[in-house]
């Protein structure tokens, strides 16, 4: 069964640099007939993808190739311009830690707030406050505002909330290890627990070693298109080969110009 299915997904986005966020200027431009529509850029180009339930898919490619955008499409944050997206099961995005925190609210309120933002119910989060506090090792801080936590503590709290339930589809934009040495072991164990057989994982990573070892399959994105798809080992090898090739090419060209 497919957990995620993308059918010929193409996404055009407005380029923000050219957009006038200014009503005054826009009206002046219209009056003086200088107005031109902000440019659009194709971020994803005819991407088709099927991810089986339980599959661990690594997404590799250079910066700006559309990896994070692809994850956003799968999460439903962005809608494709054309093509279709289908997902089955609860999706948990493991977002940048602490993006949902309000520094002035007490830690317990932030646990509920963050959990609800991530799609859980309020009752569920209320009930889980003690176990989350204990995993993050922040029992004494329940009623303090998040502002007083150190950045490491806040990261631990975010991790504890985000990884507290096990989803059907896990979305990871870069894998993280957080905290001091002892917490890092704990967080790695928890990620490993989430990484069980039934869960579908989609992970964007620049650590090719990690993709090769932990993922079953991989895709290689380049300029918004899928350059290669298949077993992780093969795709990573192909990707590496192309990087080395272009590096060699670059070197040779440099040599040639230097004479």
């Amino acid at each position: 069964m497919n957990a995620v299915r993308l059918e010929r997904v193409t996404l055009w986005r407005r380029t923000q640099e050219e957009y006038t966020f200014d009503l005054k200027r826009r009206i002046f431009a219209l009056v003086q007939r200088r107005y031109r529509k902000a440019g659009r850029r194709r971020v994803l180009d005819d991407v088709s993808l099927r991810v089986q339930r339980g599959e661990k898919l690594g997404i590799v490619g250079p910066n700006g190739s559309g990896k994070s955008t692809l994850l956003k499409i799968i999460c439903g944050i962005l809608e494709p311009t054309s093509g279709s997206v289908e997902t089955h099961g609860a999706i948990a995005p493991l977002i940048e830690l602490g993006a949902g925190f309000d520094p002035d609210l007490p830690v317990v309120d932030n646990i509920v707030l963050y959990g609800v933002l991530l799609g859980r119910s309020r009752d569920e989060m209320e009930a889980k406050i003690p176990q989350i506090l204990s995993f993050a090792e922040l029992e004494e801080y329940g009623s303090s505002p998040v502002r007083v936590l150190s950045s490491g503590m806040a990261a631990r709290l975010g991790f504890a909330i985000a990884t507290d339930t096990s989803p059907d589809i896990l979305i990871l934009d870069e894998v993280w290890a957080i905290g001091d040495e002892s917490f890092r072991n704990k967080s790695r164990r928890r990620i490993e627990n989430l990484w069980h057989d039934r869960v579908t994982v989609l992970v964007v990573s620049h650590e090719l070693q990690f993709v090769r070892e932990s993922c079953t399959n991989a895709i290689w994105l380049d300029g918004g298109r899928i350059r290669a798809a298949g077993p992780a080992e093969a795709v990573v090898a192909e990707y590496l080969f192309s990087i080395e090739n272009s590096a060699v090419e670059l070197l040779e060209r440099a040599k040639a110009t230097l004479g």
Partner: protein, 255 residues
Amino acid sequence: MRRSFDLLFVLTNRALKTRYRGSILGVYWSLLNPILMTVVYTAIFGYQFRSFYGNSLLLYAFVVFIGLSVVNFFTQSTIQALPSVVVNSALVNKIRLPMVAFPAATVAAYGVQLAVGTLPILAILTVVSTHQPLRILLLPLPLVGLILLSAGVAFLVSTAYVFFRDIPHLYEVVTFLAWVTSAVFYPAAIVREDVRRLLYLNPLFPTIESLRQIVIEPQLPEPALIAASLFNGVVACSFGYLIFNGLKRQFMDLI
């Protein structure tokens, strides 16, 4: 549905707690502003205008307080809702969320303040001036109209702000217009008749007028005014929501 409700709840809770620093007294502190303003207006204009209110300074003060409460609610809640989608851009870029919850929660937080702070005061004023405690039951109706109207405008301005970041300057003019045409501190009767008809175009007018009728008039309030207040609210809220919903697909490219 469940998710939207939970989200609205936690965001409203966040707005209330950060605004009042966790103290319920904060709600009452926020009443200080309209009460002091009422005192100032009464001191300056009271003697001039009391003849329109049975020569009673107290009734003039009640009228001012009602007008101030309504206009302040509208202005403050919509001004705060204006940037609500844009300031949460980090969040909506990471998680799929019903974005309409951001402006809605801002207005809802002010709604809570209205219900626990302003409403009891209006109830007391009603009993003091009319000796008819049953009238209190009518008070929530125009207030619901007011909340819906503000929510509708909040949806519109928060949408506009995504596209145009200079909207706050323009919106200042709109709120000033709402304030000055609401006849807060002057009796509408002093305005020349053809201009007065323009005042009735202010969508806050039926809310303020029906609240004044409920709180101070000896005769029963006009049902048509209360209905108009609710009608304005429902129309504004649905219109604002439709616009927000229709344009929200474009938001992600701009925030």
